[in-house]
């Protein structure tokens, strides 16, 4: 539920550094579970840049909508095109096929949570 190789935000996004200055961004298992069935993901264009914490898109489920916030600053290199036809991938595989954007990192990762800290945060919210 909380892969150790990912970094997390308190807003329930994850970031997976590739080691080459790029990273994948998505939402956590906890977030997809809270949203329920995802029906649409609105993603930015390639080349757009965002500050840490800035809204870069939205994820819509049957019952609600949630903002997507960038875990760190960066430029969008790719948006996950398969989500247009298969938004359910966010529910089924949030850390894999459900990834949302690939970014070129412009900031450091020191403000992000590790798996243990995120697990503790989620545990506190659900009790």
């Amino acid at each position: 539920m909380f892969p150790a190789d990912l970094k997390y935000t308190k807003d329930h996004e994850w970031l997976k550094p590739a080691g080459d200055g790029t990273a994948l961004v998505g939402i956590t298992h906890y977030a997809q579970d809270a949203l329920g069935d995802v029906v649409f993901v609105d993603l930015p264009e390639v080349g757009e840049t965002f500050e840490a914490g800035e809204e870069f898109g939205t994820v819509e489920s049957v019952k609600t909508v949630s903002e997507l916030n960038m875990p760190v600053g960066g430029e969008v290199l790719e948006a996950n095109a398969t989500l247009a036809d298969h938004p359910e991938a966010v529910n089924e595989d949030p850390y894999g096929k459900g990834w949302m954007v690939k970014i070129k990192l412009a900031g450091d990762l020191s403000g992000l949570l590790d798996a243990k800290a995120y697990e503790a945060l989620v545990g506190a919210e659900s009790h």
């Binding site: 329920g36 649409f40 489920s61 049957v62 909508v65």
Partner: protein
Amino acid sequence: MSVSVSELMKTPLNAAHRALNAKMVDFGGWDMPVQYPAGILAEHEAVRTRAGLFDVSHMGEIRVKGPGALALVEHLTPNAVSKLAIGQVHYTAFLYENGTFVDDLLVYREGEEEFLLVVNAGNSDKDFAWVQQHAPAFDCTVVNESPATGQIALQGPLSLDILQPLTKTPLDPIGYYFFTHGEVAGLKCLISRTGYTGEDGFELYCAAGDTEKLWNAVMAAGTPKGLLPAGLGCRNTLRLECKMALYGHEIDDTIHALEAGLGWIVKLDKGDFMGRDALLAAKAAPAPRKLVGFKTLEKRDIARDHMPVVQDGKQIGFVTSAAPSPTCGINLGLAYVPTELAKVGGRIQIEIRGRAVDADIIPTPFYKRAK
């Protein structure tokens, strides 16, 4: 969250929902399942194509009995109660003198002088006080049976096939919006062919203490046929597709019955009733706003409850309920708009997170089952 789970009211099925790993939410002070692990889309589809089972024990039941019962219910509601046969049920409302809604409800005629009023959970205490307040002028007793009553709703095209093996009462002869008393799985029930999903189905009322046994029996009979437990999430999308009103959304104490499109429950010629004068006046003057159905044009434009309807940067109306429609595959909703714009084929704009997006007014209900 200001209310902890322990302070929420619980139906007799609370433990059953938790055992099924339901996701529970605070619904008007009740701890209720919004969905089970299958999810809203799967539960919605089950109800449209097979069957779903809902816990609706949170609904309120008020029994009115005595020589003055008919006159009291006629006084408090706009529909023609005297036309109800024993064993028949109809949709109606409690209205204030100004024609706006105290609540909407079902009236069951149990006998010449006995009626069961089924009201919304969140309004149950207000409704009971409302009926009590008006009852002294009529020769009848008013009893709040809500705490003693459980209710489950079996909805979907396979409902009859699932339920019939559990009861000796012939179900097929019970017409839509009729009811009878019988035993289901050996438990005494009021068996009502009603629902809030637009599908065929039965609502079963039983003693609170029997609810879990009844739920388990129907689940066991239905599961091999594709029955799923169904939560409030799909209950909302199902009723929205059929343009069935929800208190706090399409109707409340600021909206009167005619602008809500509920003129069909208002029988102005039946004699006097609460709200009649206001509705007569409203009928004579053109209503300034009307409830319409709409769909947004782009997949990404998903309207939600309470969003503004705008024109040239000004708010001219509001969305009452909206969601991506699982059955229709479009993003739809209901909204109050100025009457001059309320024409099928017309275009309105809805403000979604700061963006004015186009929506077309389309015919309602959005979904109607094949007969």
